[in-house]
Symmetry: C2
Subunit: 449 residues, 2 copies
């Protein structure tokens, strides 16, 4: 059932816009899912996209707008009046509305907010804008179904009907007390079998998972994933029910977190994709490359320092790319395992135990590889002492690289810094230099130069 954008479809859309054939456009898009329409709008020209957004009713376009790439959305909003944007915002749930308002330039934010008619909606969006976007508060929507523990079933059902109209998917009925504190949840089945005069306090389930409004988005994602939850209520310090987070937003968080870690490991400093401009891609790539360049100059200086010692033994220089590559690879491997463990919240035990384990692991890998390298150098060059010096160095370099790769992410994590920055060029570069330095020092000692 995967939707595919065909050239024919795009050509038709372009043609209809050219001829102002609004009827054909309306018919075409009526049948399509808003996520698919968003894809079409990203393929047609910018003027055509604006034409279509202005044509369709705001109930449809609001859903389309939240699916668009942020850059495309921003450009479209530049062509709309504050009034037109406000109409879109009115159709959206508070969480999406707040996300979109936050993207607008500050002077426009106020202009748009002042045009929104529903005062309650404005107040809720303003509250959501106060939370960090990577926290539970930044993810939650104000739309939810909540009932008071002191209501009877009759009143409860009546109130629920009204509330449910605002909520796309109900998921759970939350129970609060007069102060608004979350007390538990209500099962629809229990509600239906109870008599109309029964008080909610007699039938609700006084146990419900909740997250704090300041919990990080990543923590919320881990909790919802672990407990297989489709929605979770959000509370503040006083246990007041503030909103709820649904699984569709969490799916995006999980995807984005994983993508971000992957990008950092690959040496990309910001969230980019292959369709971004060359300038954006350069901004994401150049800083890490520059780090690599500085690292390479460091390696150059190290090698220059050993030039005289090894002038009779130039073959040692020819193994520096090997040593650097091994140090880099081992560092990336060991740090990736730690970073992923930290992200999944399953790194237990002390740092010392981790380091000890990595040391044993690296030693095991190192010895296997060193035996192979020893045999190659011995057979190829016929110099057993050189072969010995290079191989011993390789083992030590691999152990040190593994320890650095394990220690740095754990250290960064303790300091509250995202450990994912340690898996990319940062660790490769530092391990390159350390590796080459250790290599020459050990070779010098073993060969007695």
């Amino acid at each position: 059932m995967a939707f595919e954008i065909t050239n024919e479809l795009i050509n038709n859309v372009t043609l209809y816009v050219e001829n102002s054939n609004d009827k054909a456009l309306n018919e075409l898009f009526e049948e399509m899912h808003y996520a698919d329409i968003a894809e079409v709008l990203e393929e047609v020209s910018f003027d055509e996209a604006v034409y279509i957004i202005k044509l369709l009713d705001s109930e449809t376009t609001s859903d389309i707008l939240i699916e668009l790439d942020e850059t495309v959305r921003e450009k479209i909003f530049e062509q709309l009046t504050a009034k037109e944007i406000a109409e879109e915002i009115e159709e959206l749930d508070t969480d999406d509305a707040a996300d979109i308002i936050a993207e607008l330039p500050e002077e426009r934010q106020e202009a748009v907010m002042s045009q929104i008619e529903d005062a309650e909606h404005v107040k809720e969006i303003e509250e959501l804008l106060t939370y960090d976007e990577d926290s539970a508060g930044g993810l939650m929507a104000k739309e939810l179904v909540q009932v008071n523990e002191n209501w009877n079933v009759l009143k409860c059902v009546k109130e629920m009907r009204i509330q449910a109209e605002e909520v796309t998917r109900v998921h759970s009925i939350y129970v609060v007390n007069d102060a608004g504190q979350l007390k538990g949840r209500l099962s629809l089945k229990d509600l239906l079998v109870a008599s109309t005069r029964t008080h909610i306090s007699e039938i609700y389930i006084p146990k419900v998972d909740a997250v704090h409004v300041n919990d990080s988005a990543e923590d919320v994602a881990n909790i919802m994933r672990k407990y297989d939850l489709e929605a979770i209520p959000v509370i503040d310090d006083n246990e007041i029910l503030l909103g709820r987070i649904t699984i569709d937003d969490i799916v995006d968080v999980i995807k984005e977190e994983a993508d971000k870690d992957y990008q950092m490991a690959a040496g990309l400093t910001q969230d980019v994709d292959s369709d971004d401009s060359i300038l954006d891609l350069t901004k994401a790539r150049l800083p890490w490359l520059f780090l690599g360049l500085v690292g390479g100059i460091g390696a150059f200086l190290v090698m220059g320092g050993f030039e005289e010692s090894f002038s009779e033994n130039a073959i040692l220089f020819f193994f520096t790319p090997l040593i650097a590559a091994m140090a880099g690879n081992v560092g990336v491997q060991s740090s990736a395992i730690i970073v992923q463990g930290l992200a999944n919240d399953d790194v237990k035990g002390s740092i010392n135990n981790r380091l000890l384990k990595e040391m044993l692991l690296a030693a095991l890998n190192g010895v296997v590889l060193a035996v192979f390298l020893f045999l190659f150098v011995w057979v190829y060059e016929g110099k057993i002492d050189t072969a010995f010096a290079i191989s011993i160095s390789l083992v030590v370099v691999i152990i040190v690289a593994g320890l650095i790769g394990t220690f740095i992410p754990l250290f960064l994590n303790k300091r509250g810094i995202d450990p994912a920055i340690a898996t990319g060029p940062f660790i490769t570069t530092s391990n390159d230099i350390f590796g080459i330095l250790i290599y020459f020092m050990i070779a010098k000692i073993i060969l007695g130069i």
Copy 2:
């Protein structure tokens, strides 16, 4: 609300097991979520875990077992009889049941299946076992609520009640015809307002997203994420409704796919985590390190080939780690962007356009870096021709590395091979060798040696 395993809790559990204090254990675990109990079982000794599994009723333990690490679960199952395992399986939904059966050694699979009392459950599990685990069929459960378009509302409600007992969360009511073909879905609201004699065919919504049983898990995840679906029905070639997939399973797929790509980029050949044994970790790490070693030997041979040419100009050798690092970094960056784009299904346009864009991008980055390197070498060594040779080489190496990094994942993807294998040590290693080779060739030409 994040659950934390305290030492006190573990000590208590150990003490209760030692004293066979079943009452205390039952009370303790009654209050806990099964995902938390699973965490406790992974912390206590293996014998204690088996004791607890045998103590708790199978309704609870079946949920705990699916949350356990596969290795822990396998070890526990070795201590249970086929009958005991069958009792656990009976409590599980068909998708989890099939996943667990698939993990058992073949001779045990039959023994366990023959002990399951519910013949329908056995048949459904057997069907699910025939599908590839990375396909929609491998993800779906047979439990769902389906009604026939020819039923009237009265019959429909009656049948739904019976079916709903088997289903943890209903999500959607699917409508089929007499042949079992998926025709659409039914809104609960429409059902409730219709008179009891109305036929379902008059009130159902004849539009429903579905996936084919052989669609890949990754495709299903992309569709559910794009359309914000919490459940999706699965059909075969004849549109027969076979089962449904729920969002909680998709969350795991998204997480695993992203983790896998990240691990491949870091040079880990299989799914490992930091708690795995040194042997498992070695198996995951050593193959890529070996590749790096072979690459390093390749670089050694290349350098050896240029030894005589550059014997008067040893400084050129000292820049090989820099050249190799830059080639590796650029290759990883460009391939990561393509791999991520392919995973998210948003790489559009022709390969040639991609390559052209990457060439421009790499050239831009390369020139900026080369200017910096030129100034350094010129000032530090005072040799303008050497500085020129190294800098020009750097630009060419970066462009070639970017093109290789872009081309390989696109090529692998066309061939149906997971492009993620191209982002790790594979591309670093090949770019190292190519980079060094290009570097010396260009330097030789420019310096006229």
